[in-house]
Amino acid sequence: MTARPQSMKSRITVRPREYHDSVRLMQVSAQVRRLDGVEEAILMMATDTNKNLLAAAGIAGREIQEAARDDLVIGVVARNADVADTAMAKAVNLLRSRTSDVRARQHVSLDTAVAAMPDASLALISIPGEYAVEETRKALRAGLNVMLFSDNVPLDDEIRLKRLAEERGLLLMGPDCGTAIIGGNGLGFANAVRSGTVGIVGASGTGIQEIAVQLHHRGLGVSHALGTGGRDLSASVGGLTMLRGIDMLAADPDTHVIVLTSKPPDRDVAARIVKRASACGKPVVVNFLGGDTVAVTRAGLVAAQTLTGAANRTVQLLRPNGRTAPASARSDNEFHRQVSEVAGLLSPKQVYLRGLFTGGTLCYEAMHVLQDHIGPVYSNIARQSGYHLGDCSRSREHTLIDMGDDLFTRGRPHPMIDPDLRNRRLLQESEESDVAVVLLDLVLGYGSHMDPAASLAETVRDARTRAAQDGRHLAVVASVCGTEQDPQGLARQKRLLADEGVVLAASNAEASRLAGMIVSTAAERTAGGASR
């Protein structure tokens, strides 16, 4: 925590038994923080994790220590007492004001909602994990399919709930299912992509988003995209949701090709998935990110190593003579020219790559792609032994961070909604003189921040200015996972980043390759220079 001038005044209000969801609290915090003279404004439920976060921000006191986890804490720090009082009043007013124009009907419980909406086909549940199990059980018993967005659900509960869903012939997506598209409608974090004939079942949200977006950019569309949650393909869960998803898409007349995506699954589960897919009667593309492709190909399925690769293989299946790359993709010549140009701006001391991701699977895909260019990298989600980052608050050598890891999201919204933590980390990385390239993702779509490029562009400007003051050029490479139909608009988001000199790629895989090649080319030049 940085020391604040003595004159700064803080105010703390605890509102007993007042609950608001974390996204709404973040939105009010952001509005109050924008007031002139306000240094910090935090609204949080008084859970133990949040009490620590408040203390780290310099907001502490007996009233916070004594608050219960269902109490709301409002803390502000401002230039003087008057501004602090105004900020506190503003926070309280914003909370009181009508929350939105949502045309949704409001209910006090799932039971009353089910009674009032007999046609409901799905419950979307995103309450804290400790309470989510009971609500999911209620929803399944009421005959509803469930998308369970919440994480922190115990594994045993996941298995029990998935078995209950199976008994009732229902689909349970999740826990920790971030993305789904049903009949062209996006649920959770989802992009506005064209409707079409490709059905997706994915164990990861951003994996589904990247494939759907890459299909869209290649002129194809999605019939449905079903999420399974990250643990579905583990030995304990056994792929219950993915197997059901394959059956549903196989029976769906609108789906002509099925794409499966996941990190490498448990071996036996992978075999079960491959067996079911090869018997489903439709062509299936399997992307087990960097996993074994032999069994997939042997079963007559199409294997893809990356998310973009999965989109390309799908295009080849549906349009055997069509172009696989989107119109916006670079030619090989252009790609190498850009690598060489950026590498030429780096000093010999700048040798490391740092990746800061909001999408976990995008981080994982980058790790896989970079292996061919710069070898293994450190990460909080590394699978390679010896490369797991112990202390995630500091990077070492080549590092990729999944900022959506539980470690960073406890008690605060996901970085796709709240860009603050990643922005801070970007500034931190820019201070290190041996960093050459920063690799970023930006995920648009429903559920995401309404203008993520604006604050990212501002942070990139600050980071590059700091580096320049130190006599360094900081290269920033990014891809934007989005479409023009997304609420944020793809073109504007890309322009904001391009205006700050960010090198934009057509996909996360291309961005990763570009960043890796910039680093390896710069290293070769330095080695060449040294040997002369």
Partner: protein, 57 residues
């Protein structure tokens, strides 16, 4: 396996949203019929009271 009430993929999507209100707003924006549950955590009871209630129920 009992027959589900709805064929999820081949009927109009109709959602009950429990939790983040933003998700209900996104669905409404896409013209999906959605009901939002203003979920709140259940009241925390004193452990002794909880014990008594559990024995009674």
């Amino acid at each position: 396996m009992s027959k589900p009430k709805h064929d999820l993929l081949n009927s109009d999507l109709c959602v009950i949203n429990v939790g983040l209100q933003q998700f209900a707003e996104s669905l409404a924006e896409q013209s999906v019929e959605v009901a939002h549950v203003n979920w709140e955590p259940p009241a925390e009871l004193e452990p002794e009271l909880e014990q008594i209630l559990e024995e009674l129920l």
